[in-house]
Each structure stands twice: as C-alpha cells, then as structure tokens.
Amino acid sequence: MKDKRLIKIVDTTLRDGEQRAGLAFSGSEKLACAMVMDRMGIYQIEAGIPAMCREEKDAIYEIMGHRKNAKISTWNRMIESDIESSLDICPDIIHIGVPVSDIQIKEKLHKTRDYVEEQMKKCILKALSGGSEVTLGFEDSSRADMAFMQQLAHQAASLGIKRIRYADTLGICSPSKIGADISELVRTDLEIECHTHDDLGMAVANSIVAAKNGAEFIDTTFLGIGERAGNCNFIKFITGAKDLFEFGIMSDFINLAEIDNEICGILGIGRKKSDLYERGADCAENRGYL
C-alpha cells in the first residue's frame, strides 16, 4: 500500500475561529484549548493577534510557556507595529497577512501593488530579525492575479520565506479553481498552506483538493467556527481526507468526536448555542478544565 502523504494541520480556532461575531475566549480558555491541541499532535496553533491587546499577548505567551510540541504562531497585519507586538513574545512563527487581490489593495488599503510589495519586504525583514520563522498569508488569494502572487512569492523566497498561505478569504473558491491555483503556486517551490472559508459550503472539499494538488499545510478550526459561515471544519476535513493523507495526530486521540466535544466544552460553544449574546454554561471553569 502506498504511504500516505503527511498533511500538517494549522489550527486557527483561537484566532480566525474566535473572530466569529460574538465569541470572546478568556486567556485560560485559550490555554486549556491549546493544551488539548498540543497533546493530540496538531502541528501548529495560530494562537491569536498580539497587537490586539495586552490580554491577548499575555494569553499567547502563556500558551507558549506550556506547550510541548505544537508550533505556536501569531497573526499580524502587514504593519510594523503589529510585528513588534509579536517580536515582544518571540513566537515560533510570525505570520504576516498580505492582501493580494486588486480589490483589497484598492478598497481596503487604498494603495497600489508596488506598495504591497515594498511593505511586505519591510515586514518580512522586521519579523525575521527576532529569530522566529516567518510565513506569509496571501489574503483574498481567490480573487488575486496569479502572476502577482507568484511575483510576491519569489520576492519573499529571496528574503528567506519558506511557506506561503493561500487564503480563500471570502470562501468563493470551487475545487477546480483552488486545485488549479495551488498547482500554480506549488511551482514557486515554496511550501503551500491552504486556508478556506465555508461561505458556499465547499471549504472541506476545497481543502482536500488543495492538499491533493500539493498544499502541505491545511488550516482548520474546531466546529468550523470563523468569520461569517466559518472556516474548514477540523473534524470534517480529517474525516473526508483520512483515506488520502496522514495528519500526525496521536493515536490516543483517535476518537475525534470526543476531542471535538472537549474543545467545545472548554470554549463554551456548541452546535445549538450560537446566539451572539449568550455563551454556553459549559465554559472552562464549569467543566473543571482549569
């Protein structure tokens, strides 16, 4: 039997997942959640955005102090002050979000492609100065010009970047589109990570096809939480892709439903408790996780 290729899971429950409107995790909840992920063998935990506030920075720092195996990464805008906030806590990985679609460059940044290229370089050099690994996230990749993304990828590689994230920020990709795009990006010889959203109900399929076409890292969240209709659901992705790939998850944690329940219990989220102004009574303290 042919060996299955390893796909590394990048969990972003504590960053993109928490961005679902109405969610607010405490530092202790984030820590408890991260420890479950660490024990089960998740490759990388995207723990939050240090630039957001002091509490967030402290929470990420606490996670770094307790984890045993998982790489801990921080998410940053393409802004020097964001990078500085990350450098203060020296995460394993500093991830920089780079808007790459002409729509976002114009409508969100009010800038040009040249600005994005220059600012990207500045932020990469700043982030590398602290000794952390640095990865780039191409925001809104699905609406971006592939030639521009490849150009940025080559620039980034020349500065020492080894991995870029293809982000279907608006969740508008189809499997055939994402398969073609990932195949193109793989030609840059960088490691490719794929981040999908579920606005059209295709996040899991898109992630599977991305992996089949060469993505080595797949971003997921527990319960599929995230902006709008959410991100690629961890359990669904593992279930859908388990015959194709290995994920490096420890066999002790083979009962994914139990782990899913544990995470949801820690964070006080559930399939029915989705009212913006309520939280499940089963938050971390009540369940005795802390």
Partner: protein, 336 residues
C-alpha cells in the same frame, strides 16, 4: 453559464410527517428560487397536485402499482430505483422516468456491458456517492456521461462533507441535472449552497431573496433550528465584529462579503465585542446616538474588551450605553 440546469429538490422526501399546508408553503417558496422540480412521495402528490403545478413535481415510486396510481393522479415525472425498475416498472409506458442507481452499483454498470444494456434507454441518476475528490473526479464524471448520457443526474452523499462541492463540479463538468435539498437534509448536497455558488461563481440568476421565509417554514415543519452560521441560510452569517474585517466592510463590503446580505434576504450587522476596534465602536455609538468625546474612546474600547472577555460574549446595546455613561461620568470602569 449559458446552459439550463435542471435542479431537483429532494427535501420533501425527508419530510414525511410534514403538514400538507406547511409542505405546500415550503415547496412553493423553494420552487420560487428557480429550482426546477421537487421530488415527492406518492402520498404527498395527492395533496400537492391541486396546489402546485404538477409539471414541477416528480414522484418517487417503488412498485408498478404506485406508478400506476400516480399516473392516474396526473403525475408528469417519475423516479425509481434500479431494482424496482427491473421488477416491473420497465414494462410500463412511462414517458418521463429516471432510474436511480446507488453508489455501490455504479461501478457495476460502468464495467458490466450486460447490466448497462438493461438500462440503456432510460434516464439515469447516480446516487449516494460520497467521495469523488479522492480520485480524478473529472475523469469519473466523463465516464459516467459517456456511458449513461448527458441527461444523467446525480444525487451526491454528504457522508464525507463534500456533496455540495461534488454537485458544483458535476455541473461544471457538463452535468445538467442535479439533486439537492434544503440544508442538505438527507445527507446530500445543500440546495441553497449550490444555488449561491452558481450565482457567485457563474453569475446565474437564482433568487435567494426568500431564504429567511424558507428557513422559517422549514424550522416549523421540522421543529429543528437551522444553525445560525449555516452557509447561506444562517441568520448570523453577516454579523461581523473583528476590527480588521469591520474596517474593510466599512470601506467597502466587497472586501469581505462573498455576496450581498440582501441577496439572501439577510442584513449586515455590526457586533461589539472583544475584537472590536475604535472605528467599529464609533460607528456603534453613532447608531446608538451617543455623543462621546473622542478622549474617552480608548478607555471605552478597553472596557468593552474587558467586559466581553469577562462575560465571554458580545455586548448588548444597553451594556455599551452603560459603559459609556460610567466612563464619561465617573472616569471609572463599568463593573457589569
């Protein structure tokens, strides 16, 4: 996309216990989106045929007797499984008949010419296939069309959570007939997701304006709530909070919205919570008609964040007002 797509909604097959009035209302709304037909049971056809156009109904039959009874009721289109077809329905003269072949039999028909010959002259639907993306799905679809014809329809299983995507790629590979159901009930492709995907990616013109009504009627029929963040149909999918996204949406919603909320009968909603930034807070304060000196904004923002973390949720409008009043009048934190 220039081709006409023939969409069959199979929700009714999963709603055996639904009230006749409720089912009529539901299917009327579903057919209003541009879905071609609804597939129903014979007992449902009895009351539906007088309330909906029979041209928009297909009936699932399993015996020649059922088929005959439905024909007497004026049914225009019939669907059956391969076993029932070969056990007598093949002897009946039914002008518009589709024969459904389940997943584990598809391979047999693809490789056994004798079996394939038995169903050569009927329209075929392949059903229950959970996984097309492990292998070369375009090649698989191509072989299916080659063997069964371009009129073949598909009803993908969502057991591996890829049915909507499989349905979309089926259409993109040349398929013109596809099955789905509301919220994917019955473990199949999700109708509203498929329609939204076709609208967003292929600029088709399916109407999802009545999504809230469809959802409400469905919830009454099933006594089950549709998840608030369910793609396309969820109540809260356009609620936004995080500062980065809020900033992008304020500048132009096109930055972060895959389709306009109004296109699915929804609306954009700003939520104030842990991730809110100053700009979002200012917008909310303006909505609440609270005039706040900008000197206080940072402190109010910090208090909002601490409150959200403490309560582990977003803030209601009255709580935001109370924080503002405390910060401004007393210069202190709101204990809440």
């Amino acid at each position: 996309m220039n081709r006409d797509i023939y969409l069959t909604d199979k929700t009714a097959l999963e709603l055996r216990g639904a009230s006749p009035e409720g089912l009529v209302q539901f299917l009327d709304l579903v057919l209003g989106t541009g879905i071609t037909e609804a597939e129903v049971h014979p007992f449902q056809l009895k009351f539906l045929k007088d309330r909906l156009s029979v041209e928009k109904l297909a009936v699932w039959v399993e015996t020649p007797a059922e088929a005959a009874a439905c024909r007497r009721m004026g049914a225009a289109r019939f669907v059956t499984n391969a076993e029932s077809y070969l056990n007598g329905i093949d002897k009946m003269e039914i002008p518009d008949l589709t024969v459904e072949i389940r997943a584990n039999s598809v391979h047999t028909f693809l490789t056994d010419t004798r079996r394939a010959e038995q169903i050569r002259d009927v329209k075929i639907r392949i059903a229950g296939i959970p996984d097309v993306f492990s292998d070369d799905y375009k090649d698989f679809f191509s072989r299916v069309f080659e063997l069964f014809g371009d009129e073949t329809s598909a009803d993908f299983s969502n057991r591996l959570f890829c049915a909507t995507a499989a349905a979309f790629e089926w259409i993109h590979s040349g398929g013109v007939r596809i099955c789905a159901s509301f919220t994917g009930v019955g473990h199949r492709a999700c109708a509203e997701e498929l329609l939204a995907a076709l609208n967003v990616i292929d600029k088709t013109g399916f109407s999802l304006l009545n999504m809230p009504e469809i959802r409400n009627v469905y919830e009454k029929l099933t006594d089950q709530k549709v998840e608030d963040f369910k793609p396309v149909a969820g109540r809260n999918i356009f609620a936004f909070e995080s500062g980065i996204h809020a900033d992008g949406i304020f500048k132009n919603p096109i930055n972060y919205e895959p389709f306009m909320p109004e296109s699915v009968g929804n609306r954009r909603r700003l939520v104030i919570g842990k991730h809110s930034g100053r700009q979002a807070l200012n917008v909310k304060l303006s909505e609440l008609r609270l005039a706040v000196d900008k000197r206080h904004i940072d402190e109010i923002n910090d208090e909002v964040r601490r409150f959200a973390i403490r309560m582990r949720r977003a803030l209601r409008d009255d709580e935001i007002k109370a924080i503002c009043e405390n910060v401004i009048s007393q210069g202190g934190a709101y204990e809440g």
